[in-house]
């Protein structure tokens, strides 16, 4: 046992302990949420997914989350529709057209944007953008469109940098051969390189969606908070995350209402888990 071995052993122990803490925290989190959600799942059961009506404090109570689940999906869908093309365009520009100075500028702007706390973005939307949207015909100051814009601003840096990474990971020789064959710069980037980077781009899309669906504070501030299925962009929505954040603070601990909120959390966790698994599979097939 010389000094070097000892050092190695110490380092190894530290790394193992930290890794174990991480793994236990994850398992613990899952276990905690499942345990807290169980009473609602067993006692309320299918009503959670079948009913549109969320009246947890009435007598008799009703715990339907369908409107909120659909609200979450619709909102995520719209935000993704905005942010994914935008993210791709930004990434594409950075990859192929930007001069080094431009690249630096855009990169640092994106990094700064990703550092803005979501509360600030929420306040900004509520104070400046909300009146504008009211002017173009929204009847409610918090609505689907505003929330989707907020989520897009939040996740754009994330989507753009992930996509840019996957584009840059493509072998340069592919790009060069395409250009040598006489393809234009745009065709090369859009058709050849993007195709080669497709798994990476898909992965970026999934991770972005995963991020959007879990965002809480912005939707709490600007989505409106009515648990209805939105019929237009100007209708208010109430995603699951907003309901949890809004009610968790005042709900009697251990009640069925409390448990139902955890069930909502579990739904989100399961969605996120599936998305992560999907992303892992894509990455693996890509590496092969």
């Amino acid at each position: 046992m010389n000094k070097r071995d000892l050092k190695n052993l110490i380092n190894q122990t530290i790394i193992t302990i930290v890794a174990l803490i991480g793994i236990f925290a994850l398992i613990g989190l899952f276990a905690f949420i499942i345990i807290e959600a169980l009473p609602a799942l067993t006692e309320v059961g299918a009503e959670i997914f079948g009913s549109l009506y969320w009246y947890p404090t009435y007598d008799p109570p009703e715990y339907g989350m369908l409107a909120m689940i659909l609200g979450s999906f619709i909102l995520t869908g719209i935000a993704s529709l905005i942010v994914i093309p935008m993210g791709y365009i930004v990434a594409f520009f950075l990859y192929d057209y930007a001069k080094p100075t431009e690249q630096k500028l855009i990169k640092s702007a994106i990094d700064l944007l990703s550092g803005i706390p979501s509360v600030i973005i929420g306040s900004f939307l509520f104070i400046y953008l909300s009146p504008m949207i009211m002017k173009i015909g929204a009847w409610s100051s918090g609505n689907l469109l505003l929330a989707a814009i907020g989520l897009s601003i939040l996740s754009l840096p994330y989507a753009a940098s992930l996509m840019q990474e996957s584009l840059s990971a493509v072998d340069t020789s592919l790009k060069e051969s395409s250009l040598a064959m006489g393809a234009s710069r745009f065709t090369t980037g859009f058709r050849i390189v993007s195709k080669a980077a497709l798994p990476g781009i898909l992965n970026a899309i999934i991770l972005t969606v995963n991020r959007i669906i879990g965002e809480t504070i912005v939707v709490l501030m600007v989505a409106g908070g009515a648990a209805i299925i939105p019929r237009s962009l100007f209708d208010p929505v109430r995603p699951l995350t907003a309901a949890i954040a809004s009610e968790m603070g005042e709900v009697p601990i251990g009640s069925l209402h409390y448990s139902a909120l955890f069930a909502a959390g579990l739904i989100l966790l399961v969605i996120s888990f599936i998305l992560t698994l999907l992303s892992r599979r894509i990455t693996r097939s890509w590496n092969r």
Binding site: Y53, P56, T57, Y58, P131, W139, E250, H257
Partner: protein, 274 residues
């Protein structure tokens, strides 16, 4: 979970010797009053530690049952289920009225409306009336944007009980997590309506008279104003009314002249010394 908290509490007590502690939990409506009281009491009783948790009336009463709080602030009376539980467990909680809260119905100042009846209000919140001109032909033909506090808040419970008489609020009602957010949203939207404790009303919104009655001090104190409620402190008096100790000190201060002044300062109506 609760056990660990208890153990931690005991541990802290053991650590800090036996300084007197007082735990207060419950209604968020009463939270600001209690906060002011505690600030003043710190100077009067330097070795008394008071912890305060605003978590909703139901939580406070539940905590009184499992003895994790000394005082439960509640903006509502006990539910039947709680009274039954009290009887079953052989406990006796007593209410002390610390002040009154009136729930003001607020709209945007630009909307030409000054009064509303309780029935109209109920119709708006249950979704039977959705446009302003259905209420009064002189009002604009615009959708009513209805705001409410979220379903876990005490203000919501009182509103449902006093205005909707237990009927369900329409799903189109927008739930907001704080009074602040509600006032801001209404101040910005010309066709919005909402409700909040009288203590929180600012100049950005207009208060409507309900059934022709304004939520003035006297109207609320006499319960003439239809949407008002007493605010309670519940204490566990199973072993008799506390004669000494922190609970007694707290109650004595709260009901004193100064304590009642602070109730007014928090935006409510003092129940004593009118």
């Amino acid at each position: 979970m609760k056990r660990t908290i208890l153990v931690m509490l005991l541990a802290t007590v053991a650590l800090f010797g036996f300084a007197e502690t007082l735990v207060i939990k419950g209604s968020n409506t009463i939270f600001p009053v209690t906060q002011l009281w505690i600030e003043e009491m710190k100077d009067m009783y330097p070795d008394l530690t008071i912890t305060l948790e605003g978590a909703g009336s139901s939580t406070g009463i539940a905590a009184l049952f499992n003895e994790t709080t000394d005082i439960a602030n509640s903006s509502r009376w006990l539910k039947d289920s709680e009274i039954t539980k009290m009887y079953q467990e052989g406990k006796y909680f007593i209410p002390i009225v610390l002040g009154y809260d009136g729930i003001a119905v607020i709209v945007n100042p630009d909307l030409g409306i000054n009064e509303i009846s309780l029935e109209e209000l109920a119709n708006i919140y249950t979704g039977k009336i959705t446009r302003w001109n259905q209420l009064n032909p002189n009002l604009p033909n615009q959708r009513i944007v209805v705001y409410s506090r979220n379903s876990a808040s005490g203000t919501y419970e009182t509103f449902v009980e006093k205005v909707l008489e237990g009927e369900r609020m329409a799903p189109t009602v927008q739930m907001l997590e704080s009074t602040q957010a509600e006032i801001e949203s209404i101040a910005r939207n010309k066709y919005a309506i909402g409700y909040t404790g009288v203590g929180y009303v600012t100049d950005d919104v207009k208060v409507l008279s309900v059934n022709g009655i304004q939520p003035t001090k006297l109207n609320i104190l006499n319960s003439v104003y239809p949407i008002s409620r007493p605010l309670y402190m519940f204490i566990d008096a199973t072993k008799g009314y506390p004669q000494t100790g922190p609970v007694k000190q707290y109650l004595t201060f709260g009901l004193s002249k100064r304590g009642q002044e602070l109730v007014e300062q928090a935006g409510y109506i003092a129940s004593y010394g009118f």
